[in-house]
Symmetry: C3
Subunit: 397 residues, 3 copies
């Protein structure tokens, strides 16, 4: 019964750690220097340098629209003079963030569905006699379905497919010579949804001719959104001519980074562009290039379909947008963080017996009506609470 009451009473006792104080100036100064260091770290590094009081939004919303300008003339034995505009050499034409620019091409005009010999370049199409060409079988990595006959003149199976089959000759010069001078206009709109902040990489300017004349350069003109294709490739550390001609194409990444401190002025939030070649391996050896095929279909007067097949080589550009915006966080939290630092400093109260301060403590003590007067001390005591508990103990003893 008495135990229960005791237990219940003791629930409301206040327990705290006991501190000891060393009146050693050397150690004390070191200790204070350490505390100052922690404080300086928190205020200087976390708050001022790293801006720990700011809220971060890394869920950037981005929309990229691209537009290419420039024309190039090609002169091939098959096709003669041909003028290429952006509507032809950019695929897809609608200005997406990933696009392909044709620099070389192989044209196979007037293909019709018919029977003809498979290309000698296709291993599975080789034959010596008709029995090597099973009728109805697909030529692996080939151009059609085997008809069952072996064409002696070429040593390949006869196939049903688009005839004549594509010529497998490799281009050694850039057909679209002027491709280096094409310009890429990148419009990038971003939004930090948390802060309702929108911005574009195109400067708000009243000067209409600015966008017509400017050209991006990382130091001279870092905010112009128009890039010369040749420069854009060269900035990756690879030569445009090598990529377009020898390597028959490649993939280039344009990285747009928006790291914005939204506490600062609107005009200080600007993108930083960087350029990398994407299709490289560790030893910087490039892979076999980038090409694909597409066809244009026509109908003759009899209504029969024929087509022109294009195998195109070129440069693929991937525009990748990353970024984060920071903004001052809730004042309440900020206030709490300030307080807590302050509080931590104030937490370790005077615990050492010393004439002036402990006299004050004793005076406070005396004014508390519900507490017994402190007895004459025999033992050492180290602070207010230690003292109280000491009294109690000695009393019980």
């Amino acid at each position: 019964m008495a135990g229960c009451t005791n237990f219940f009473l003791s629930v409301f006792d206040y327990k705290t750690e006991k501190y000891v104080i060393a009146k050693n100036k050397k150690v004390g100064v070191l200790f204070r220097l350490f505390q100052l260091g922690v404080l300086a770290y928190i205020i200087g590094w976390v708050f001022l340098t790293k801006k720990g009081y700011q809220e971060k939004d890394d869920s950037i919303q981005s929309s990229v629209i691209t537009k290419l300008k420039g024309v190039a003339l090609t002169n091939t034995t098959d096709g003669g003079l041909h003028l290429w505009g952006a509507e032809d050499y950019v695929i897809p034409s609608q200005g997406e963030s990933v696009f392909f620019i044709i620099t070389n091409f192989i044209e196979t005009p007037n293909q019709r569905l018919d029977y003809c010999a498979e290309s000698i370049k296709v291993p599975d199409g080789h034959c010596r006699e008709d029995s090597d060409c099973t009728e109805g079988e697909t030529v692996i990595a080939g151009h059609g379905i085997k008809s069952g006959r072996c064409v002696k003149s070429t040593g390949t199976c006869e196939i049903y497919g688009w005839c004549p089959v594509e010529k497998h000759h490799k281009q050694h010069e850039v057909l679209l010579e002027k491709a280096e001078n094409f310009t890429v206009y990148i419009k990038n709109f971003i939004r930090f949804p948390k802060f309702q902040f929108s911005k574009s990489n195109v400067l708000d300017t009243n000067n209409d001719t600015y966008l017509k004349r400017c050209m991006y350069h990382d130091t001279h003109n870092p905010y112009c959104p128009i890039f010369r294709l040749g420069d854009l490739v060269n900035w990756t550390g690879h030569s445009f001519q090598d990529m377009a001609a020898k390597a028959s194409g490649g993939a280039v990444g344009v990285l747009i980074q928006w790291n914005c401190d939204l506490d600062k002025d609107y005009s200080k939030c600007n993108p930083v562009y960087s350029f990398t070649r994407l299709d490289v391996n560790s030893n910087n050896s490039v892979t076999s290039g980038y090409n694909f095929r597409y066809a244009r279909y026509f109908k003759d007067t009899a209504g029969l379909t024929y087509r022109t097949l294009y195998k195109v080589y070129g440069i693929r550009v991937d525009i990748m947008v990353t970024g984060e915006g920071v903004f001052i966080c809730d004042m309440i939290l900020l206030y709490m963080m300030e307080k807590s630092t302050f509080y931590r400093e104030k937490k370790f109260e005077c615990a050492k017996y010393d004439s002036l301060r402990c006299r004050r403590n004793k005076d406070i003590e005396r004014k508390m009506p519900h507490k017994e007067r402190a007895p004459k001390r025999k033992a050492t005591w180290k602070g207010k609470f230690t003292e109280l508990s000491t009294e109690k103990s000695t009393a019980l003893n």
Copy 2:
């Protein structure tokens, strides 16, 4: 030798912090209230409100398929009556998450590769005499390659290119008037790979006509995946007619957010749609619109190529999917967290000398065979371990 043994023995001493207890009810109650507050915070806020026991998966996998419906009739002086279906006005046609809808267009039919005068709108094409037009030079931002002659009638260089060159007249009315009524069906499949959870934004319903008749509305019909294009644009806070006609196009973002508590019922995990205009600057001024060109190629009976060039204006829609799923985390961890809170509460044992409890402590002590009996105490002592060490010390003294 003895020192070594002593050191070795002392390795297995148990060190703990020393506590003092204040038998002050006011402070004690405050202290307990503070502890209760921390406990309430952990249980109420971290566990119940913030669901701290749940695991998060923010690597949402998403696939978006779109389909547009609706037809529009245009009547131009050049082309006459023309009916536009989704196969024509949506680019690309395969229903991707980023697509473009034509609302206006300028058609330049029957272009052939030939020599003709450059457009008067191109500054670099202006000339006074033949020497202004260097043969073989590209007209900057123009339509072809200079032939070296100056066409007096227009005051521009003669070029080799697709002739006649595109007419630069601006549209002032929306040609595809009915574009506002086109419907966009957005199928969005998501997956939280960590929890093997899949869902679609299309309701599982046995009612076949539901999808044929419903139309999304943020309050009346928030789960219908079919959107009227005009509404979709207007919900961004911009007028469809303004965007499509005056501003000659724009970009709209449709954000689908999946924030799912997977502890709840499957039917509670639903997407929230929001709509923003992407091509705006801070002052909400819109940029110059969105357009691009594409061409359709034909061959005449003689096998010569000609084409129809389209410059199309319109609305680009970017569908962006974000989201995260939360699910109850490992029971072991949960158990551990519960235990640790429990443990923390239990950690601060009775350390104050008080008749009942410390008598128990002494009894326990007596039962330990390897320990000397506690001597009569002279000094104060504050707890079990303090007591033990005190005994030892006095014994050694």
Copy 3:
């Protein structure tokens, strides 16, 4: 005045927590075991297993290029024999990370802009008399604009549109039978920008024929980047034939995961592929498939436009790349972490009075010139700093 000086002096006092030591071997061993456990956890789990000393880069940059190979022959009553190559059955043709493969199609050739009866399948086009067909009104979910007349023979309104209207018959067999054997070559280049690390999923090999012959298999050949389309679909747990024929299409996700420990050898950083069906609901019921329409435009000798409309069904493949790279972090931080663990171990100095060690302490004390000699002890004391403060207190008492 004296108070001020006292306060100023006391600022440089060193405060620390007071420890007590229990010379109880059982408790001591338990305590050491607990400490060893914590240490083992930190070293074994955090450092060795979880590699807590490594820095993480989860902002992977990725570029995906795809290429399909294979041909298929179709034989339809309308179109006769037709050979499909990758340039036809892959949309878009430029090898993006999201692409569509045609497996079935409905061809509507020779459509011209004209007046004809609406399809019976369109509910809004049904009519009994001319007044049911308001002139100039769009047929909802239909193919054109009502002309105002009702065609008695079909019971539908006459429309102006592309005539004849598309046939609404459903395919029940896979037209591109061989689609299962198409191969998908996925080139994936990744980069961890923080560590300047690039890699491709295509092995660096001198064996030219490796890529020509290999075929991906999760156990036999996990690093070959060429996938058989049928396998790719079947690995999602759904049958290719079902998806391509019965369900008339679907969407498949190919997830490429790069989780690389860049401390290890370059060759150890390899992608892991996984395959999921994206267009499923919770009950694994598939949705109505995936289809879209596109048209090819032609001009007749009179210059009039006609077209062939294709409604295509098929399989959409979304290639998603995720990953993170880890690398050993700053040596300074690592050193600090090691030190702090070391320091924590060293922090709790001998605090117990014991002949050897405390004699050493006293010796050190004696050598400090600015400190009074330790008095003969009467009371117990527990450590260096306690002792010092005790001295001071007794002195002041």
